[in-house]
């Protein structure tokens, strides 16, 4: 069962994750994202977080790791439409300014759709 799906649009790679991002799942998600990142050509990665129902500190650690890796490649990571629990947890650990978070309106701007 894969919880990650990928879509390429121009120079943007969109990854959508469905489910919980916790200690139980973050390792596999990180591994799959890193494998996809390594073999695809893109300028920006958008992680669609609308269907991430729950995140813990392990999931947040995975996001931080992903951000570092993407920046290391000279590219950008955007977190798209995090669900309410995810947004609140990122606020709790004061990372809402650290990450580039897009809401649905920004989504239309970036993707040129909707």
């Amino acid at each position: 069962m894969t919880q990650l799906q990928f879509l390429e649009q121009d120079c943007t790679l969109i990854a959508q994750y469905v489910g919980e991002l916790t200690l139980e799942t973050a390792g596999a998600c990180k591994k799959q994202l890193e494998e996809e990142i390594a073999k695809r050509t893109f300028e920006s990665l958008i992680l669609d977080m609308e269907k991430i129902s729950f995140i813990d500190s392990s999931g947040i650690g995975m996001l931080v790791s992903l951000n570092s890796r993407i920046k290391g490649y000279g590219k950008s990571l955007f977190l798209l439409s995090p669900a309410e629990q995810v947004k609140k947890t990122l606020e709790l650990v004061q990372l809402t300014e650290f990450f580039h978070i897009l809401d649905e309106d920004d989504d239309a701007l970036v993707l040129g759709s909707k």
């Binding site: 200690l23 139980e24 500190s57 392990s58 650690g61 931080v64 709790l92 650990v93």
Partner: protein, 137 residues
């Protein structure tokens, strides 16, 4: 007051299920959705902490959640393991640097809990947490 105790092995999948079981019990009692969400995150972090740090590799021990539900808005949580214990008191955990991948679990617990303490007694290590619904929730 109602008391429930659940336990399993200190393994990621088992502890996720343990937390979900505890939250399922609380759902039938608690009236405050925000309190329930906060407890879910606290239990997730506390059990994950035990999975990652309590026991040496290959030495799979037990994790236990005890919940004392005093009123629908006041819950005491105890998350215990029988592992190494805390090297130093984690009662005032600091927030990790933004670039750090680890170290936010206890900070999250401390931020969400009303009170948060650590006990070590006869090989049993317990995080004791009191949490109540916020007035404006």
């Amino acid at each position: 007051m109602h008391t429930y105790t659940l336990n399993t092995m200190a393994e990621a999948f088992a502890c996720r299920q343990l937390t979900k079981g505890a939250v399922h019990i609380l759902q039938s009692v608690l009236t405050n959705a925000e309190l329930l969400e906060n407890i879910k995150l606290i239990l997730t972090e506390a059990t994950a902490n035990a999975v990652c740090h309590a026991y040496n590799d290959g030495d799979l021990g037990k994790v236990e959640i005890t919940m004392h539900i005093h009123t629908p808005e006041h819950v005491e949580l105890q998350i215990s393991d029988w592992g190494k214990g805390f090297a130093q008191s984690p009662v005032s955990p600091k927030l990790s640097a933004p670039e750090a991948e680890d170290g936010r679990g206890l900070y999250i617990i401390a931020k969400l809990a009303d009170t948060f303490s650590v006990e070590q007694h006869k090989g049993k290590n317990t995080l004791r947490i009191q949490i109540t619904a916020k007035e404006n929730a």
